[in-house]
Symmetry: C2
Subunit: 430 residues, 2 copies
């Protein structure tokens, strides 16, 4: 049996604590499965005093996580500090430079510095693993890098943020509006005090950029993700979608479109009974389409102590087993700079919702704009009648170009009879 694998852990929040728990609870299984004993040598976190429900006295305590790098007794550093720069970045660079393997669940770090770090890891001949960075306990990274590696991937679609999916699920089930449900989610600890990172789609964009890199062999490029969040989804939109047999989900989508790649985060409609439509609450899902495998998808808990720690320890097992993989599925030096197209090139069915004054000729005005932009309407749903007052008009379209429909909706938004900004969302088949 090979020698023990000596681990240093930086960051002891939920996930870090979970990692310690797994290593303590499953010591025997981990050794049997990987062929090596797992030994935690040292840990580092901000507060030594915090109650964590786990015994840490056997491990060296370091106030400065960078000291983990200087310890020659450590083979692998687990970075669970978070953040795309600062100490997390410094630690990972220092660890790789010192020839230590790194396991991290830090999506922001990978999204911003993935290529540079992958190149450094490969130059040093060490592993850089990040299964926990996307979709928590779901082995989505492994599926793309290994399980589906025989395929030319055409698209990846994911529900990647549990907070958003929880909010959208709650809105649907209770009929309440966004702000109300967000407040409740914050009270329950499902959403942060500053929810922007989640509800504006930034977290999903980070994760998506990692999946895109793996799916298409390109450098992660967070700057090239078109990102829209869920703040503007109204209770009425949710209700209309339900009536039409759809659910609204915040989707991260990457798709090959000719020689270019589309990379977008936006709320979309998906059929209620579809693969993604049946993923509710805090669950995450990753849906892959490949040329030989067809479609395959993975679902599970996307965050939290247990699931994310499970993914982090799976990475440690890979390292202990001696399985070293190209960080993004192909050598870092072979990763191309992505050529991106806007999601506006997509042809799809769309959902539109506009609020207009109920007066003669309004529908004709709207219809003319749609015709001028080649938008062909499939169904119209006018909610009630109230002459002179604002009423909702809901439409779904035949297959139309996203750019065309966006332009049309912008014009409709400028009509004097239109109240507020019309809403348009793509209907994704998944």
């Amino acid at each position: 049996m090979a020698k023990e694998m000596r681990i240093g852990i930086a960051g002891l929040g939920n996930v870090g604590t979970g990692v310690v728990k797994i290593i303590q609870k499953h010591a025997r299984d981990l050794e049997q499965r990987s062929g090596r004993k797992f030994k935690i040598v040292a840990v580092s976190a901000r507060s030594k005093k915090k109650t964590r429900g786990v015994k840490l006295s056997a491990y060296e305590w370091l106030n400065d996580p960078l000291e983990l790098v200087n310890n020659p007794e450590i083979d692998v550093i687990v970075e669970l500090i978070g953040g795309s720069s600062g100490i997390a970045y410094e630690l990972v660079v220092a660890a790789l430079s010192a020839g230590k393997h790194v396991v991290t669940a830090n999506k922001a770090l990978l999204a911003h510095h993935g290529h540079e770090l992958a190149a450094l890891a490969e130059k040093q001949g060490v592993s850089l693993c990040f299964e926990g960075s996307v979709a928590g306990g779901i082995p989505a990274i492994k599926a793309l890098r290994e399980g589906f590696a025989a395929n030319d991937v055409q698209s990846v679609r994911g529900i990647l943020n549990g907070t958003c999916n929880y909010i959208l699920t709650e809105m649907r089930e209770t009929g309440r509006d966004f702000k109300d449900v967000l407040k409740e989610a914050q009270a329950k600890g499902y959403a942060e005090a500053d929810p922007s990172f989640d509800v504006d789609g930034i977290d999903t964009a980070h994760k998506l950029s990692i999946l895109t890199a793996l799916a298409f062999g390109i450098k992660p490029d967070i700057k090239k993700v078109e990102t829209r969040g869920i703040r503007n989804i109204t209770a009425a939109d949710i209700q209309h979608a339900t009536e039409l047999g759809y659910k609204i989900k915040l989707l991260g989508l990457c798709r090959r479109e000719g020689k270019k790649i589309i990379q977008s985060v936006e709320p979309c409609l998906v059929q209620e009974q579809s693969a993604l439509g049946s993923v509710n609450g805090v669950l995450n899902a990753v849906h892959v389409q490949g040329d030989f495998v067809g479609t395959g998808w993975l679902v599970g808990r996307g965050a939290g102590e247990g699931p994310t720690a499970s993914a982090v320890v799976a990475d440690l097992i890979d390292i202990a087993r001696g399985n070293q993989l190209p960080v993004f599925g192909i050598p870092a030096k072979a990763l191309k700079t992505g050529a991106f197209a806007s999601a506006d090139v997509l042809n799809a069915h769309f959902y539109m919702h506009m609020i207009v004054r109920d007066q003669p000729g309004v529908l004709a005005q709207i219809a003319a704009i749609l015709r001028d932009h080649k938008v062909s309407v499939e169904a119209v749903l006018q909610r009630g009648r109230d002459p002179g007052k604002p009423v909702s008009i809901v439409m779904t379209t035949h297959l139309v170009n996203q750019s065309d429909i966006r332009k049309a909706v912008e014009k409709i938004g400028k009509l004097t009879v239109t109240k507020g900004k019309p809403c348009v969302m793509r209907i994704e088949q998944a």
Copy 2:
């Protein structure tokens, strides 16, 4: 870049042909992803003349697959002949003995000889990979052996046979009975002329025994799978299940029960909207419950040229990358002989359907038997009334012991007023 990986393929049915297609079409990607060029050296199949839609002239043709073993130019043998014994078994033993890696999609072989073959592969220091043997393109083996390896697995539940799932889905959607839908499936090529292997649950049992070995670190033990098929499911059962909000699925289930393991294949009811309830048609699914990850599941196409070939080539990529894993997740010599319990120890909710003569006192007789066996009824559904004629009684139960309810139902079946054999199925929460 390491030297090329030289491959011999035995068996050129759908899957074998698919493997050749992938290696031809994705030559550049496979090399980039694995670091080695994939070179097919020789192929072997029964008929050289058969039209396969793929060019084979560049490869040596061998009439005897065992000759692949004698070729020193071959590093990996892909066994796609099938069958638990005979030439497939001989070939795999010979290949491993000769120090060649083996990739197979042969579930019967693994179910019957898994432990022996794993021990041989590990002794020889070569890989024995079988991702294609279970659930086609879905990376279920990888998920259990690597992705969820940080967990103590509590249960695995799978929809593992596309033919059965197609038949059950069709029965539900059309209201037709089993024989009728089976005949149509045979005509469409979804079911074999002799459908027993699929519809009697044998194929599912083979696959389940492999998942059980991986989940619990035991030797695959096909003899210890309690197996019931779907032949006796009636159109009426499907309809009652639908009315109650359930679907009937043939599930392979393994679950830890104290120190023992339950391993069973049987039709069960699952909630319509649940993880497994939403898996329809020829799709397969594998649902895993672990102590840290919680629940996670994978869904995709479970058979066919593309998906299974995708899994076989994923195994080849693993081998080319130099990733060698213990065949069943832990060293073969550490695999224990499973201690199994009958699924009758389970406590669950149940569905019952009996046909009885419509006469006074019948329900009282049935109720007395149920009471004597501690079966507490949750809901009763009596279909119509027709004095003196047979009527259906459908019941669901509270949490009861499976052994108790089976005994009760056996007694009910012996009542003079009962027509035919009553049906009882477990309601699985998934």
